[in-house]
Subunit: 244 residues, 2 copies
Amino acid sequence: MVGTGPGSIDHITPQAVNAIAAADIVVGYKTYLDLIPQLLEGKEVLSSQMMQEVDRCRKAVELADTGKKVALICGGDPGIYAMAGLIYEVVMENAPKVKVEIIPGLAALNSCAARLGAPLMHDFAAISLSDLLTPMALIEKRLDAAAMADFVLVIYNPKSKKRTSQLLKAQEIALKYRKADTPVGIVTAATRENETIVLTTLGELDKAEVGMQSTVIIGNSTTFTWQGVMITPRGYHNKYKIGE
Amino acid sequence: MVGTGPGSIDHITPQAVNAIAAADIVVGYKTYLDLIPQLLEGKEVLSSQMMQEVDRCRKAVELADTGKKVALICGGDPGIYAMAGLIYEVVMENAPKVKVEIIPGLAALNSCAARLGAPLMHDFAAISLSDLLTPMALIEKRLDAAAMADFVLVIYNPKSKKRTSQLLKAQEIALKYRKADTPVGIVTAATRENETIVLTTLGELDKAEVGMQSTVIIGNSTTFTWQGVMITPRGYHNKYKIGE
């Protein structure tokens, strides 16, 4: 299971590159494979445009079970809200002798935080707003708990075409505990050609453009902005005297 | 600000490698620089064994302010509990015209999760137990809120030589909401020569060896172990039928 980070080969570790090079066959979603054509030259590739994640995992495991070395490509970090768990579950049920190795990549939270400045210098909570596999009541409970305890909030899957109310709910919950001028950063398609970076505030979040490829970071009570970047200071006491 | 990930050059992205190559001078803590000798050949290097982080940042900013391109090296991901915020604060106060770029790397949470299997498939909270810059009352509040709302817990700075009681407190708080057999993974010095990976349980956490280089991941109510790995399933309903 190979994490390829946010996009181009500029962000893929040598460990991931070497795993792809060593594989007998590369399996992956076409969108991700198209970002790394240089690594696929001369390789046997099983590119799936339509296959669902589960089918892709099952296919990869099936191939591995015949003795092939399979590189299953996963954008971002397979270990964060992604396919690492699924591959273990498929292996457990279907081919328990297949060996799995997870090769990490830069997740959305790493890339988006870097593009926004330094929002994750202190405790943060990552919360997905997708209610496909998680009851909305639990999502709301987590938003509330994390907002109440002053975690920076990293919001995955903030919105889809059909699903737009969850982000409004998140905004409403955060506003129970945080000021309307709390900085919020929105990064869409981080590091890709169509990347957009928006700095807004919690009070204005409902007016910002947020899409399926966006990650939203809501600052904690100490987060501030400076020259277009978002900074969460590390300490609550500012003990590390600067500029003396 | 260049993130070099967990250790060797095997985990450094081309973007980071290129930034080091393009720099006039490389500044960093000796321990991290010693892991990437290949990248430093022929470079001007300012290696600091004893300089504190703030002094390192100030030195780097001072050099950049004279017009030099400086690569300030940061192990892991500078954007996650690390030096990205500090560099902005030093620039703000001392040399506001210096341009900063944050180049992300694999953070401890990426590397440790990958070594443990798939613990971070669902919502998680990252919490540092260091009370140097954060009041312990706030740390406890966050532990309580995150444990209550069934976040997977990623514990940074779990222990130091002098500081051993915080992890016991975290265990106690988590046990208010989670069963004693909840899986806990402890990764120390991920991917390095002296790496250790321990799978234990929440009830036994106080007996496990945890050090300054460790990251501790406490599973949520659905996390389970299988053949030495720790897996948090993605969904609460298991909608994505496997093996059918």
